[in-house]
């Protein structure tokens, strides 16, 4: 069965069809959940919550986008809920201005070849971003969701989503590239 047939069957209440959709998208959805939350444990909670929400809301899925893209939006929403819950429970400092714990300022631009090591480092740097900034950077720059969709799922304005994106990019840039390595030539 192709995806659209599975979605139609799932919308009619076919659990086996929905389970197949879960199997096909699980690794992708878990990866997003893990990236949005910055840790394994919350990633597990978010992926389960996302699929429960998807099952309850499958009737509203219009099928205009791929099922996996719809899952990205649900996962983003579930992760935002998880972050808010964590903030209430732990009263952790979620200040956007805190500095990453591991700035890795030793990394030169030339060394930032698109290698496995570079990807490891950028993954670590993403994990160190404040959750509010990380969510927007992951959804826009990794998963290429439009600003409007990101804003809607995170419950913020498009302008706020853009501000967070730019702040997140700046922090990643500071974490990954050595400032002052190049002279001001003008």
């Amino acid at each position: 069965m192709d995806e659209s047939e599975l979605v139609s069957a799932a919308k009619a209440g076919d659990r086996a069809a929905f389970d197949e959709l879960v199997r096909r998208t699980f690794v992708d959805t878990f990866t997003l959940a893990r990236r949005l939350t910055g840790n394994e444990e919350d990633g597990r909670d978010v992926v389960q919550d996302a699929y429960l929400r998807a099952w309850r809301g499958i009737g509203k899925f219009r099928g205009e986008a791929a099922f996996s893209t719809w899952m990205y939006r649900i996962t983003a929403n579930a992760a935002a809920t998880n972050v808010r819950r964590r903030r209430r429970q732990q009263a952790e400092p979620f200040d956007d201005d805190i500095e990453p714990a591991d700035p890795r300022t030793d990394l030169q631009p030339a060394a930032m070849a698109e290698s496995a090591e570079a990807l490891e480092r950028i993954t670590d740097a993403l994990d160190e971003l404040p959750p509010k900034l990380r969510s927007v950077v992951v959804l826009k720059d990794v998963y290429d969701l439009p600003h409007e969709a990101i804003a809607e799922e995170l419950g913020i304005t498009v302008a706020a989503a853009k501000v967070r994106l730019h702040r997140g990019r700046r922090k990643l840039r500071d974490a990954l590239y050595d400032e002052g390595a190049e002279a001001h030539a003008v």
């Binding site: 659990r15 929905f18 389970d19 879960v22 199997r23 699980f26 690794v27 992708d28 878990f30 990866t31 893990r34 990236r35 394994e40 990633g43 597990r44 992926v47 389960q48 699929y51 429960l52 099952w55 309850r56 631009p109 930032m112 698109e114 570079a118 990807l119 950028i122 993954t123 950077v137 720059d141 990794v142 998963y143 290429d144 853009k162 994106l165 730019h166 702040r167 990019r169 700046r170 990643l172 840039r173 990954l176 590239y177 190049e182 002279a183 001001h184 030539a185 003008v186």
Partner: protein, 121 residues
């Protein structure tokens, strides 16, 4: 514009934000430092996009747990639907009985009044 002012705008300029001040664009065209900084942001975005094809390995058993949680949720939903259906049936039966009792009472009262009027006449 000064480099410091332009630097703050580069995270938006890197993917062609249309709201960027034209003066900042003009500055970048002539400033090697800002061009280099913009190149760093471009490299950052390329590397972030590459993450799209890198997957995290889910914990063993997580898929099974998720499917089991879905089964529980589906059963719970079905149970609630059944319960609300039964509640509706009970409410319908009680309502029907009440209407029938009311009609019977009205009939008896009407008969009793007619009998009283005949006796009085």
């Amino acid at each position: 514009m000064l480099c410091e002012e332009v630097t703050a705008l580069l995270p938006g300029m890197v993917d062609g934000d249309l709201d960027v001040d034209p003066a900042a664009v003009q500055h970048v065209e002539t400033c090697l430092r800002c061009q280099a900084e913009l190149a760093r942001y471009r490299r950052l975005l390329r590397t972030l996009a590459l993450l799209r094809t890198r997957y995290a390995e889910p914990t063993p058993g997580l898929l099974g747990d998720t499917l089991a949680a879905l089964t529980d949720a589906a059963e719970e939903g079905a149970r609630r639907t059944l319960l609300s259906g039964r509640r509706l049936a009970y409410a319908g039966a009680i309502g029907g009985t009440a209407v029938a009792a009311g009609a019977t009472a009205a009939l008896l009262i009407a008969r009793s009044r007619r009998r009283s009027m005949r006796l009085a006449g």
